[in-house]
Symmetry: C2
Subunit: 215 residues, 2 copies
Protein backbone atom coordinates (compact mmCIF):
# COMPACT_ATOMS: atom_id res chain seq x y z
CA UNK A 1 0.00 0.00 0.00
CA UNK A 2 3.12 2.17 0.23
CA UNK A 3 2.92 5.87 1.03
CA UNK A 4 -0.76 6.07 0.22
CA UNK A 5 -1.67 3.77 3.10
CA UNK A 6 -3.14 6.65 5.09
CA UNK A 7 -5.62 7.36 2.29
CA UNK A 8 -6.72 3.79 2.07
CA UNK A 9 -8.94 3.00 5.02
CA UNK A 10 -9.65 -0.72 4.87
CA UNK A 11 -13.27 -1.77 4.94
CA UNK A 12 -14.38 -3.07 8.28
CA UNK A 13 -12.58 -0.56 10.46
CA UNK A 14 -13.88 2.38 12.44
CA UNK A 15 -14.21 5.58 10.46
CA UNK A 16 -11.28 7.24 12.21
CA UNK A 17 -9.14 5.16 9.86
CA UNK A 18 -5.59 3.96 10.40
CA UNK A 19 -4.18 4.81 13.81
CA UNK A 20 -2.68 3.20 16.86
CA UNK A 21 -6.00 2.28 18.43
CA UNK A 22 -7.59 -0.36 16.26
CA UNK A 23 -8.19 -3.51 18.17
CA UNK A 24 -9.07 -7.16 17.57
CA UNK A 25 -10.67 -9.24 20.30
CA UNK A 26 -10.58 -13.02 20.39
CA UNK A 27 -13.35 -14.47 22.53
CA UNK A 28 -12.52 -17.17 25.08
CA UNK A 29 -15.19 -19.19 26.88
CA UNK A 30 -15.54 -22.51 28.69
CA UNK A 31 -15.20 -25.27 26.11
CA UNK A 32 -13.64 -23.13 23.36
CA UNK A 33 -11.65 -25.35 21.01
CA UNK A 34 -7.99 -24.56 21.59
CA UNK A 35 -6.77 -24.14 18.00
CA UNK A 36 -9.93 -22.23 16.98
CA UNK A 37 -8.76 -19.41 19.24
CA UNK A 38 -4.99 -19.80 19.27
CA UNK A 39 -4.49 -20.29 15.53
CA UNK A 40 -5.87 -16.78 14.89
CA UNK A 41 -4.09 -15.53 18.03
CA UNK A 42 -0.73 -16.66 16.61
CA UNK A 43 -1.37 -15.06 13.22
CA UNK A 44 -2.80 -11.81 14.58
CA UNK A 45 -0.39 -11.34 17.49
CA UNK A 46 2.55 -12.01 15.19
CA UNK A 47 1.23 -9.32 12.84
CA UNK A 48 0.43 -6.70 15.49
CA UNK A 49 3.59 -7.24 17.58
CA UNK A 50 6.14 -7.56 14.77
CA UNK A 51 4.54 -4.73 12.75
CA UNK A 52 3.29 -2.22 15.35
CA UNK A 53 3.47 0.52 12.71
CA UNK A 54 0.24 -0.90 11.26
CA UNK A 55 -1.58 0.43 14.31
CA UNK A 56 -3.41 -2.72 15.37
CA UNK A 57 -3.46 -4.71 18.58
CA UNK A 58 -5.09 -7.97 19.63
CA UNK A 59 -6.13 -9.45 22.93
CA UNK A 60 -8.24 -12.28 24.29
CA UNK A 61 -11.41 -11.60 26.23
CA UNK A 62 -13.73 -13.67 28.37
CA UNK A 63 -16.97 -12.67 30.08
CA UNK A 64 -15.39 -12.30 33.50
CA UNK A 65 -11.84 -11.62 32.34
CA UNK A 66 -10.72 -14.79 34.11
CA UNK A 67 -9.15 -17.96 32.74
CA UNK A 68 -11.19 -20.54 30.82
CA UNK A 69 -10.83 -24.28 30.47
CA UNK A 70 -10.79 -25.09 26.76
CA UNK A 71 -12.50 -28.06 25.11
CA UNK A 72 -9.47 -30.36 25.33
CA UNK A 73 -8.54 -29.29 28.85
CA UNK A 74 -6.01 -26.50 28.38
CA UNK A 75 -6.46 -23.53 30.73
CA UNK A 76 -5.86 -20.16 29.06
CA UNK A 77 -6.14 -16.68 30.52
CA UNK A 78 -8.05 -13.81 28.96
CA UNK A 79 -6.46 -10.36 28.88
CA UNK A 80 -9.77 -8.56 29.41
CA UNK A 81 -13.31 -9.08 30.60
CA UNK A 82 -16.32 -7.88 28.63
CA UNK A 83 -16.49 -4.81 30.87
CA UNK A 84 -12.88 -3.66 30.51
CA UNK A 85 -12.11 -4.68 26.91
CA UNK A 86 -11.12 -1.88 24.55
CA UNK A 87 -13.63 -0.97 21.82
CA UNK A 88 -13.27 -3.61 19.11
CA UNK A 89 -12.82 -3.15 15.38
CA UNK A 90 -12.85 -6.91 14.84
CA UNK A 91 -14.26 -9.76 16.93
CA UNK A 92 -13.17 -13.38 16.45
CA UNK A 93 -15.73 -15.85 17.87
CA UNK A 94 -14.13 -19.30 17.96
CA UNK A 95 -16.07 -22.56 18.15
CA UNK A 96 -15.84 -25.69 20.21
CA UNK A 97 -18.24 -27.77 22.28
CA UNK A 98 -18.72 -24.71 24.48
CA UNK A 99 -20.80 -23.11 21.72
CA UNK A 100 -23.67 -25.58 22.23
CA UNK A 101 -24.94 -24.05 25.52
CA UNK A 102 -24.43 -20.59 23.96
CA UNK A 103 -27.08 -21.36 21.31
CA UNK A 104 -29.84 -20.80 23.86
CA UNK A 105 -27.97 -18.62 26.33
CA UNK A 106 -29.92 -15.37 25.98
CA UNK A 107 -27.27 -13.34 27.79
CA UNK A 108 -24.59 -14.52 25.39
CA UNK A 109 -26.77 -14.02 22.31
CA UNK A 110 -27.65 -10.51 23.49
CA UNK A 111 -23.91 -9.77 23.88
CA UNK A 112 -23.26 -11.07 20.36
CA UNK A 113 -26.03 -8.83 18.98
CA UNK A 114 -24.60 -5.86 20.85
CA UNK A 115 -21.18 -6.62 19.39
CA UNK A 116 -22.79 -6.76 15.93
CA UNK A 117 -24.10 -3.22 16.55
CA UNK A 118 -20.75 -1.92 17.77
CA UNK A 119 -18.06 -3.93 15.95
CA UNK A 120 -17.52 -3.27 12.24
CA UNK A 121 -16.14 -6.73 11.43
CA UNK A 122 -17.54 -9.86 13.06
CA UNK A 123 -15.68 -13.10 12.36
CA UNK A 124 -16.02 -16.69 13.48
CA UNK A 125 -14.07 -19.92 13.40
CA UNK A 126 -15.66 -23.39 13.23
CA UNK A 127 -18.90 -23.63 15.22
CA UNK A 128 -18.65 -19.99 16.25
CA UNK A 129 -20.89 -19.35 13.27
CA UNK A 130 -23.64 -21.42 14.92
CA UNK A 131 -23.77 -18.79 17.63
CA UNK A 132 -23.91 -16.02 15.04
CA UNK A 133 -26.76 -17.89 13.34
CA UNK A 134 -28.64 -18.31 16.62
CA UNK A 135 -28.22 -14.57 17.26
CA UNK A 136 -29.68 -13.77 13.82
CA UNK A 137 -26.48 -12.33 12.36
CA UNK A 138 -26.39 -14.59 9.31
CA UNK A 139 -29.93 -14.07 7.98
CA UNK A 140 -29.94 -14.29 4.16
CA UNK A 141 -26.13 -14.45 4.09
CA UNK A 142 -23.56 -16.93 2.83
CA UNK A 143 -21.64 -18.64 5.65
CA UNK A 144 -19.77 -21.77 6.62
CA UNK A 145 -18.89 -23.78 9.73
CA UNK A 146 -17.23 -27.03 10.90
CA UNK A 147 -17.91 -29.86 8.45
CA UNK A 148 -19.92 -31.85 11.01
CA UNK A 149 -22.11 -28.83 11.85
CA UNK A 150 -23.18 -27.75 8.36
CA UNK A 151 -26.64 -29.30 8.84
CA UNK A 152 -27.13 -27.61 12.20
CA UNK A 153 -26.15 -24.26 10.69
CA UNK A 154 -28.90 -24.60 8.08
CA UNK A 155 -31.33 -25.77 10.75
CA UNK A 156 -30.63 -22.78 13.01
CA UNK A 157 -31.41 -20.37 10.18
CA UNK A 158 -32.74 -21.83 6.91
CA UNK A 159 -32.18 -18.48 5.19
CA UNK A 160 -28.38 -18.99 5.34
CA UNK A 161 -26.65 -19.84 2.07
CA UNK A 162 -24.46 -22.61 3.54
CA UNK A 163 -21.12 -22.98 1.77
CA UNK A 164 -19.79 -26.46 2.59
CA UNK A 165 -16.72 -26.24 0.38
CA UNK A 166 -15.30 -22.86 1.35
CA UNK A 167 -12.35 -22.57 3.74
CA UNK A 168 -13.84 -19.24 4.84
CA UNK A 169 -16.62 -16.98 3.57
CA UNK A 170 -16.03 -13.21 3.50
CA UNK A 171 -19.39 -11.46 3.27
CA UNK A 172 -18.17 -7.93 4.00
CA UNK A 173 -18.90 -7.16 7.64
CA UNK A 174 -19.04 -10.83 8.62
CA UNK A 175 -16.48 -13.55 7.89
CA UNK A 176 -17.11 -17.18 8.87
CA UNK A 177 -14.64 -20.03 8.52
CA UNK A 178 -14.75 -23.80 8.47
CA UNK A 179 -13.38 -26.00 11.23
CA UNK A 180 -10.61 -25.58 13.79
CA UNK A 181 -7.42 -25.15 11.69
CA UNK A 182 -9.30 -22.98 9.18
CA UNK A 183 -9.00 -20.09 11.61
CA UNK A 184 -5.34 -19.80 10.59
CA UNK A 185 -6.29 -19.30 6.95
CA UNK A 186 -9.09 -16.89 7.88
CA UNK A 187 -6.78 -14.85 10.11
CA UNK A 188 -4.24 -14.53 7.29
CA UNK A 189 -7.09 -13.32 5.10
CA UNK A 190 -7.91 -10.72 7.75
CA UNK A 191 -4.31 -9.47 7.71
CA UNK A 192 -4.50 -9.33 3.91
CA UNK A 193 -7.74 -7.38 4.05
CA UNK A 194 -6.73 -5.00 6.86
CA UNK A 195 -3.05 -4.42 6.04
CA UNK A 196 -2.47 -5.71 2.53
CA UNK A 197 -1.19 -8.82 0.82
CA UNK A 198 2.51 -8.11 1.35
CA UNK A 199 1.97 -7.88 5.10
CA UNK A 200 -0.05 -11.10 5.15
CA UNK A 201 2.80 -12.76 3.29
CA UNK A 202 5.24 -11.42 5.92
CA UNK A 203 3.11 -13.01 8.63
CA UNK A 204 2.78 -16.26 6.73
CA UNK A 205 6.57 -16.45 6.51
CA UNK A 206 6.89 -15.42 10.16
CA UNK A 207 4.95 -18.48 11.26
CA UNK A 208 6.51 -20.56 8.48
CA UNK A 209 3.06 -21.49 7.23
CA UNK A 210 3.91 -23.81 4.37
CA UNK A 211 1.54 -26.55 5.44
CA UNK A 212 2.28 -30.04 4.21
CA UNK A 213 -0.10 -32.55 5.81
CA UNK A 214 1.75 -35.88 5.96
CA UNK A 215 -1.45 -37.95 5.74
Amino acid sequence: MGSNAEDDTPAGTHENGPGPDRHIGILLFEGVEELDAIGPWEVLSHWTQVFPQDGWSVSCLSRSGGPVTCAKGLVVHAHHGFDDAPPLDVLVHPGGEGTRPQLDDEAHLAWVRRMRDEVPLMTSVCTGSLVYAAAGLLRDRPATTYHAALGLLAELDPSIDVRPDDRFVDDGDVVTSSGVSAGIDMALHLVDRLAGTARAQDVRRGIQYDPDPPV
Copy 2:
Protein backbone atom coordinates in the same frame (compact mmCIF):
# COMPACT_ATOMS: atom_id res chain seq x y z
CA MET B 1 -3.87 -52.05 12.19
CA GLY B 2 -7.09 -53.95 13.02
CA SER B 3 -7.07 -56.92 15.37
CA ASN B 4 -3.32 -57.31 15.25
CA ALA B 5 -2.71 -53.96 16.90
CA GLU B 6 -1.59 -55.61 20.14
CA ASP B 7 1.21 -57.39 18.31
CA ASP B 8 2.49 -54.30 16.63
CA THR B 9 4.40 -52.21 19.14
CA PRO B 10 5.20 -48.92 17.44
CA ALA B 11 8.81 -47.82 17.50
CA GLY B 12 9.48 -45.12 20.03
CA THR B 13 7.36 -46.48 22.86
CA HIS B 14 8.29 -48.15 26.10
CA GLU B 15 8.81 -51.86 25.83
CA ASN B 16 5.62 -52.71 27.67
CA GLY B 17 3.92 -51.97 24.34
CA PRO B 18 0.38 -50.75 23.75
CA GLY B 19 -1.60 -50.08 26.90
CA PRO B 20 -3.48 -47.34 28.68
CA ASP B 21 -0.40 -45.71 30.13
CA ARG B 22 1.58 -44.27 27.26
CA HIS B 23 2.01 -40.57 27.65
CA ILE B 24 3.09 -37.55 25.63
CA GLY B 25 4.35 -34.43 27.37
CA ILE B 26 4.37 -30.98 25.76
CA LEU B 27 6.84 -28.65 27.42
CA LEU B 28 5.74 -25.13 28.37
CA PHE B 29 8.18 -22.43 29.46
CA GLU B 30 8.39 -18.65 29.64
CA GLY B 31 8.52 -17.32 26.09
CA VAL B 32 7.32 -20.50 24.38
CA GLU B 33 5.75 -19.63 21.02
CA GLU B 34 2.02 -20.20 21.35
CA LEU B 35 1.34 -22.20 18.18
CA ASP B 36 4.54 -24.26 18.59
CA ALA B 37 2.96 -25.83 21.65
CA ILE B 38 -0.76 -25.60 20.97
CA GLY B 39 -0.68 -26.82 17.36
CA PRO B 40 0.65 -30.21 18.55
CA TRP B 41 -1.63 -30.01 21.62
CA GLU B 42 -4.69 -29.73 19.37
CA VAL B 43 -3.62 -32.64 17.17
CA LEU B 44 -2.51 -34.91 20.01
CA SER B 45 -5.34 -34.11 22.45
CA HIS B 46 -7.89 -34.64 19.68
CA TRP B 47 -6.32 -38.03 18.99
CA THR B 48 -6.02 -39.18 22.59
CA GLN B 49 -9.43 -37.90 23.75
CA VAL B 50 -11.52 -38.94 20.75
CA PHE B 51 -9.75 -42.29 20.45
CA PRO B 52 -8.97 -43.36 24.03
CA GLN B 53 -8.87 -46.98 22.89
CA ASP B 54 -5.41 -46.25 21.44
CA GLY B 55 -4.12 -46.02 25.00
CA TRP B 56 -2.35 -42.68 24.82
CA SER B 57 -2.69 -39.48 26.78
CA VAL B 58 -1.11 -36.04 26.52
CA SER B 59 -0.52 -33.22 28.95
CA CYS B 60 1.47 -30.00 29.20
CA LEU B 61 4.29 -29.66 31.69
CA SER B 62 6.34 -26.78 33.01
CA ARG B 63 9.25 -26.81 35.42
CA SER B 64 7.18 -25.68 38.40
CA GLY B 65 3.82 -26.92 37.15
CA GLY B 66 2.56 -23.34 37.15
CA PRO B 67 1.33 -21.16 34.29
CA VAL B 68 3.71 -19.64 31.76
CA THR B 69 3.52 -16.44 29.75
CA CYS B 70 4.06 -17.35 26.11
CA ALA B 71 6.10 -15.36 23.58
CA LYS B 72 3.15 -13.31 22.32
CA GLY B 73 1.67 -12.74 25.76
CA LEU B 74 -0.86 -15.54 26.22
CA VAL B 75 -0.84 -17.15 29.67
CA VAL B 76 -1.32 -20.92 29.58
CA HIS B 77 -1.39 -23.40 32.46
CA ALA B 78 0.64 -26.60 32.63
CA HIS B 79 -1.04 -29.77 33.85
CA HIS B 80 2.10 -31.03 35.59
CA GLY B 81 5.43 -29.94 36.95
CA PHE B 82 8.66 -31.78 36.17
CA ASP B 83 8.39 -33.53 39.54
CA ASP B 84 4.84 -34.84 39.19
CA ALA B 85 4.64 -35.53 35.44
CA PRO B 86 3.91 -39.13 34.45
CA PRO B 87 6.78 -41.04 32.78
CA LEU B 88 6.89 -39.89 29.19
CA ASP B 89 6.98 -41.97 26.03
CA VAL B 90 7.22 -38.84 23.88
CA LEU B 91 8.40 -35.32 24.68
CA VAL B 92 7.52 -32.32 22.49
CA HIS B 93 9.92 -29.40 23.04
CA PRO B 94 8.46 -26.30 21.35
CA GLY B 95 10.46 -23.24 20.37
CA GLY B 96 10.05 -19.52 20.78
CA GLU B 97 12.18 -16.67 22.04
CA GLY B 98 12.23 -18.42 25.41
CA THR B 99 14.62 -21.00 23.98
CA ARG B 100 17.47 -18.45 23.77
CA PRO B 101 18.20 -18.35 27.53
CA GLN B 102 17.79 -22.15 27.61
CA LEU B 103 20.82 -22.54 25.32
CA ASP B 104 23.17 -21.84 28.23
CA ASP B 105 20.87 -22.76 31.09
CA GLU B 106 22.73 -25.75 32.51
CA ALA B 107 19.78 -26.86 34.62
CA HIS B 108 17.52 -26.95 31.57
CA LEU B 109 20.12 -28.68 29.39
CA ALA B 110 20.70 -31.29 32.12
CA TRP B 111 16.94 -31.91 32.25
CA VAL B 112 16.84 -32.33 28.46
CA ARG B 113 19.71 -34.84 28.63
CA ARG B 114 17.91 -36.73 31.40
CA MET B 115 14.77 -36.80 29.26
CA ARG B 116 16.88 -38.17 26.39
CA ASP B 117 17.96 -41.02 28.66
CA GLU B 118 14.41 -41.74 29.84
CA VAL B 119 12.11 -40.86 26.96
CA PRO B 120 12.09 -43.10 23.87
CA LEU B 121 10.98 -40.41 21.43
CA MET B 122 12.23 -36.82 21.69
CA THR B 123 10.59 -34.30 19.36
CA SER B 124 10.89 -30.57 18.82
CA VAL B 125 9.08 -27.77 17.03
CA CYS B 126 10.78 -24.68 15.58
CA THR B 127 13.71 -23.47 17.72
CA GLY B 128 13.18 -26.29 20.20
CA SER B 129 15.83 -28.10 18.16
CA LEU B 130 18.37 -25.42 19.12
CA VAL B 131 18.00 -26.58 22.72
CA TYR B 132 18.43 -30.21 21.66
CA ALA B 133 21.57 -29.17 19.73
CA ALA B 134 22.96 -27.29 22.74
CA ALA B 135 22.32 -30.37 24.88
CA GLY B 136 24.24 -32.55 22.41
CA LEU B 137 21.24 -34.61 21.28
CA LEU B 138 21.67 -33.93 17.58
CA ARG B 139 25.32 -34.86 17.13
CA ASP B 140 25.91 -36.34 13.66
CA ARG B 141 22.17 -36.38 12.97
CA PRO B 142 19.90 -34.78 10.38
CA ALA B 143 17.65 -32.08 11.86
CA THR B 144 15.77 -28.90 11.05
CA THR B 145 14.51 -25.75 12.79
CA TYR B 146 12.82 -22.38 12.15
CA HIS B 147 13.95 -20.89 8.83
CA ALA B 148 15.62 -17.92 10.51
CA ALA B 149 17.55 -20.17 12.92
CA LEU B 150 19.10 -22.64 10.46
CA GLY B 151 22.50 -20.93 10.71
CA LEU B 152 22.43 -20.95 14.48
CA LEU B 153 21.57 -24.66 14.50
CA ALA B 154 24.67 -25.41 12.43
CA GLU B 155 26.72 -23.11 14.64
CA LEU B 156 25.60 -24.80 17.85
CA ASP B 157 26.70 -28.18 16.53
CA PRO B 158 28.53 -28.27 13.17
CA SER B 159 28.13 -32.06 13.06
CA ILE B 160 24.37 -31.67 12.40
CA ASP B 161 23.18 -32.41 8.88
CA VAL B 162 20.90 -29.36 8.64
CA ARG B 163 17.85 -29.91 6.43
CA PRO B 164 16.54 -26.47 5.42
CA ASP B 165 13.81 -27.73 3.10
CA ASP B 166 12.17 -30.41 5.25
CA ARG B 167 8.88 -29.70 7.05
CA PHE B 168 10.08 -32.16 9.71
CA VAL B 169 12.92 -34.66 10.00
CA ASP B 170 12.24 -38.08 11.51
CA ASP B 171 15.53 -39.65 12.59
CA GLY B 172 14.10 -42.52 14.60
CA ASP B 173 14.26 -41.58 18.26
CA VAL B 174 14.39 -37.86 17.55
CA VAL B 175 12.06 -35.83 15.32
CA THR B 176 12.64 -32.13 14.68
CA SER B 177 10.37 -29.80 12.75
CA SER B 178 10.63 -26.44 11.06
CA GLY B 179 8.94 -23.30 12.33
CA VAL B 180 5.78 -22.63 14.37
CA SER B 181 2.93 -24.04 12.24
CA ALA B 182 5.10 -27.05 11.25
CA GLY B 183 4.33 -28.57 14.64
CA ILE B 184 0.86 -29.41 13.33
CA ASP B 185 2.32 -31.45 10.47
CA MET B 186 4.86 -33.10 12.76
CA ALA B 187 2.18 -34.03 15.30
CA LEU B 188 0.07 -35.63 12.56
CA HIS B 189 3.17 -37.59 11.57
CA LEU B 190 3.50 -38.73 15.20
CA VAL B 191 -0.10 -40.00 15.17
CA ASP B 192 0.65 -41.78 11.90
CA ARG B 193 3.75 -43.36 13.37
CA LEU B 194 2.26 -44.28 16.76
CA ALA B 195 -1.27 -45.29 15.75
CA GLY B 196 -1.29 -45.70 11.98
CA THR B 197 -2.19 -43.71 8.92
CA ALA B 198 -5.96 -44.24 9.15
CA ARG B 199 -5.97 -42.78 12.65
CA ALA B 200 -3.87 -39.79 11.58
CA GLN B 201 -6.36 -39.22 8.77
CA ASP B 202 -9.20 -39.35 11.33
CA VAL B 203 -7.45 -36.65 13.35
CA ARG B 204 -6.73 -34.55 10.27
CA ARG B 205 -10.43 -34.62 9.43
CA GLY B 206 -11.31 -33.94 13.08
CA ILE B 207 -9.45 -30.65 12.99
CA GLN B 208 -10.53 -30.06 9.37
CA TYR B 209 -6.90 -29.66 8.38
CA ASP B 210 -7.22 -28.88 4.68
CA PRO B 211 -4.94 -25.87 4.77
CA ASP B 212 -5.38 -23.30 2.04
CA PRO B 213 -3.18 -20.27 2.70
CA PRO B 214 -4.93 -17.29 1.10
CA VAL B 215 -1.66 -15.41 0.45
